[in-house]
Symmetry: C2
Subunit: 327 residues, 2 copies
C-alpha cells in the first residue's frame, strides 16, 4: 500500500509513522499543491494521502480510499472534490497545546512577563511593590467566555476553572451538565456572553455557522478592557471589524494565532497584510503555533498510523467525516 505525505506540514510525521505502523506501507513525500508534478504522479497510484488541502483542481486518484487530515480543521478540503469512495478523516489531539496557549495568552496579558524581563535587563525595578509599582491583574475571579465547547473548549474550561476563573461556555448545542462551566449560552446569545467577560477564547471549528461569527456587533458588546484570544480559525472573526476595534481601542486587545490568510513561503512582508495588526501595541501575534506541540505530533502520528492500519486491514476508520462521491 502506498500513502502520500502531501506538503511540508506532513513530512515531519514520516519517521514517527514508519515506527508506529503495524501494516506495510510505502510512504512518499510530495509537495502540497494539487498541480505539483509529484502529487499528480503520486495520486495516480496512492491508496491513501495525508494532507491539509484537496480541491477540485486535484488530479485523478483512482485508488485513493483515505484522505487523512493531519489535524482537526479540514477547511482546506473541498468535500465535493473527494473521489468516489474516498473516506475523509481528521484527527484531534491538539487540545492540550491549544488550551495551554490560551491560558498562556491570558496570563501574559495580565502579568506582562516579557516586558518585566526587558525592564530588569535595563536595571529597572519600578514594577516592584517596594517602589510603589502598580499591581498586575489576576485571572482568579475574572471571567472567560469560551466559544466552542468541543475538545479545545473543554480543555480550556478545565484549566480556567482550576485558576478560579468564572467560565462561560458558548456552543451550538447547550448541554446543561457541561463540566467546569458556570453558565452556558447558545451561539445566538454570544453577544450576551461576551458582555460579562474579561477574556473571550475562540476554540470552535470554522463552519458556515461560525464564519464571521465575531463581528462588529459582538466586538462592540465586549468590555473596553476585554481581550480576545483566537486559537480557532482566523475567519471566525471579521478581520476588518477586529482591526477597527483594536485600533480604536474599543476592546483591550487580541492574541491572534490563527489567520485569515497564510503565506506560501515562510517569509512575508507584513506590509502585504490588508490590516496591519503588526503595527498595533494591543495585540500578541503568532504563526498558528498553538496546537503544534511535541505531544500533538506524537498523538496525531499514533492516530494516523492507526487509521492507515485500519485501512490496510479493512477495518472501519476512526474520525470519519465524509465519503467522497466525485466520479
Amino acid at each position: 500500500m502506498r500513502a502520500l505525505l502531501m506538503g511540508p506540514a506532513v513530512h515531519p510525521f514520516r519517521a514517527g509513522l514508519e515506527k508506529m505502523l503495524s501494516t506495510k506501507w510505502e510512504l512518499v513525500e510530495t509537495g502540497g499543491a494539487m498541480d505539483d508534478a509529484d502529487v499528480v504522479r503520486g495520486l495516480a497510484e496512492a491508496d491513501a494521502a495525508i494532507g491539509i488541502a484537496f480541491t477540485k483542481a486535484a488530479p485523478p486518484a483512482p485508488r485513493l480510499r483515505l484522505l487523512q487530515v493531519p489535524g482537526a480543521g479540514y477547511d482546506g478540503i473541498q468535500i465535493p472534490a473527494l473521489p468516489a469512495g474516498t473516506s475523509l478523516c481528521n484527527c484531534f489531539e491538539h487540545e492540550p497545546g491549544c488550551s495551554e496557549y490560551a491560558m498562556l495568552a491570558m496570563l501574559e496579558w495580565s502579568i506582562r512577563l516579557a516586558a518585566a524581563d526587558a525592564d530588569m535587563r535595563r536595571g529597572d525595578w519600578s514594577r516592584s511593590s517596594r517602589f510603589g509599582g502598580a499591581p498586575d491583574g489576576e485571572l482568579a475571579g475574572s471571567t472567560v467566555a469560551i466559544v466552542g465547547m468541543g475538545r479545545i473548549g473543554k480543555a480550556v474550561a478545565k484549566r480556567a476553572k482550576a485558576f478560579d476563573m468564572r467560565v462561560l461556555g458558548v456552543n451550538r448545542t447547550v448541554r446543561a451538565d457541561e463540566p467546569n462551566v458556570d453558565a452556558m449560552y447558545g451561539l445566538d446569545r454570544l453577544a450576551e456572553a461576551v458582555r460579562g467577560a474579561d477574556f473571550v477564547v475562540l476554540g470552535c471549528a470554522l463552519t458556515d455557522e461560525t464564519r464571521g461569527l465575531v463581528d462588529a456587533r459582538v466586538l462592540g458588546a465586549m468590555q473596553p478592557h476585554a481581550v480576545i484570544v483566537n486559537v480557532a480559525r482566523g475567519p471566525v472573526i471579521d478581520e476588518a471589524a477586529l482591526h477597527a476595534a483594536l485600533a480604536g481601542r474599543r476592546i483591550g486587545g487580541a492574541v491572534i494565532d490563527t489567520w485569515w490568510r497564510y503565506p506560501t513561503v515562510p517569509r512575508q512582508a507584513t506590509a502585504e497584510w490588508p490590516h496591519r495588526f503588526d503595527l498595533l501595541d494591543n495585540v500578541i501575534l503568532s504563526a498558528h503555533i498553538a496546537g503544534w506541540t511535541t505531544g500533538t505530533v506524537q498523538r496525531r502520528t499514533r492516530a494516523m498510523a492507526a487509521n492507515l492500519d485500519r485501512l490496510a486491514r479493512g477495518e472501519p476508520l476512526d474520525n470519519l467525516i465524509a465519503i467522497g462521491g466525485r466520479t
Copy 2:
C-alpha cells in the same frame, strides 16, 4: 489610635485601609528606614506600624502593640528587635498571584510567545507547521517539583494538576493526603525529587532550614533541560551555584522573580550585580512582581484592616507570628 505606613511598599494600601477600617485610626505615611526622621518621630507615638523592615536599629516605640507585615515573608523583621509586648503579624493572600506567575513562567518557557510575537512582526512564519516548524513543548505529561507545600505550593499544585502535569511535592512535613500531588518528598529528599522534574517551582518561606537549600548538589541533580522558577525568596537558592549552572548550561534555565539583594532606588545598573544574570539568554527575570496583583492588594488590605480593628477592640490578632520581648 495611630498607625504608621512605613515605606513606599505600604503607602498604596492607605486608601483601601481607610475605606475598610471599622475602628478609628489615624494613618501616617513615613519612610521605610529605621533612621528616617519621620519613622523616629512616628514610632514614639504609634500604636501600630505596617512595614516590611524592623531591625535592632529601630528607635523607641513605647506604645507599639502591633507590627503588621503587609505580606507573607517577614525575613526583613528581626524578631529580637520587637519591643516588649509588640505582636508581629503577617498576611498571605498572594497565592493566586504567585501561582499564576509560576504557571506563566512554565508556559512561556514551553511556548515562547514573546519570541513568536517578535517573529510575526518581522513577517517570519517559520514556526508554523505549514513550513515544517519545530513543535513546542507541552506542560501536559511533564513533571513539576514544587518546593514548599504551603499556600503557594498548594495553589501551584492545583493548577498544574489541571494541566495534566505530574506533581511532586517537597515539604518539611510530608502529608500523605496532600491534594493534587502525585508523590511527596521530605526536604532531605529534594535532590531525588528534582531529578525527575522538568520544572522546579520554589514557593517555600525563607528560614534557617531553606536558606541555600537549592545548592550546587541540588542543581547538579536537575536534568539538563529542567527549569527552576523562584517565587519564594532569592536566598533559597545559592546564587553563585545557580549562575554557574546556567552559564555552564547544566540546567535548562531559570525564571527569577525573587532576589538576593534589592536596590534602594528603582534604577540600578545591572553591572553592579555580583552575578550577571542579565547577560544570560536562558533566564527570564522580573522585579519581585509575582504576588503583587490587584487581588493580593485587595485581600491584604482587608486582612490588615481586620487586624487593626481587632487591636482597637482588644480582640485576638490574626496570623500572629511572635510577641516582642525587647525592653
